[in-house]
Symmetry: C2
Subunit: 94 residues, 2 copies
């Protein structure tokens, strides 16, 4: 089962992922959403996170960001691909 607070970034227009992130915040029971992307999609992930932060969700903490390398098997060859995980979390109101 795919957790409902993960948004995987691919080749669609950035705004589709912005909508997906907003909807994940609305529908998930968690107060955080994780944006995951690989390779060329990494810049789209950063764009989507920044648009959410600046335009739609003003009550977020500073995003937590990690990078890592995954090994992909492709036609017998192993390729290293960089990945990014951006966690957007709603700030605790007190």
């Amino acid at each position: 089962m795919r957790p409902d607070n993960i948004v995987y970034i691919g080749r669609k227009p950035t705004m589709s992922y912005v909508m997906a992130i907003l909807s994940a915040f609305n529908n998930s029971t968690s107060d955080s959403v994780v944006i995951k992307a690989r390779g060329r999609a990494i810049s789209t992930a950063v764009d989507a996170a920044e648009i959410c932060r600046n335009r739609y969700l003003s009550d977020l903490d500073t995003p937590e960001i990690t990078i890592e390398t995954e090994q992909l098997e492709n036609e017998g060859e192993t390729r290293n691909v960089s990945c990014i995980n951006i966690t957007l979390r709603k700030a605790n109101k007190q």
Copy 2:
């Protein structure tokens, strides 16, 4: 004066930036190097950081990563561009 521990990522091949990062670590008096990129170059920045971490510099802390939005003026129009700053820091040996 440009600080000697900042590497700006552009459109060159990823390995040129890997070399620039390694050379910044060697020549700078600081024990950290900041990798900065905008827009499409963000994925190259993550690639370069990961190649340095995995292949050439084994004694680094987990990188600190921040994202932000810059406004660029272009032919009278203002465009928002996402930026990433990746800080690679040598782990303190004790």
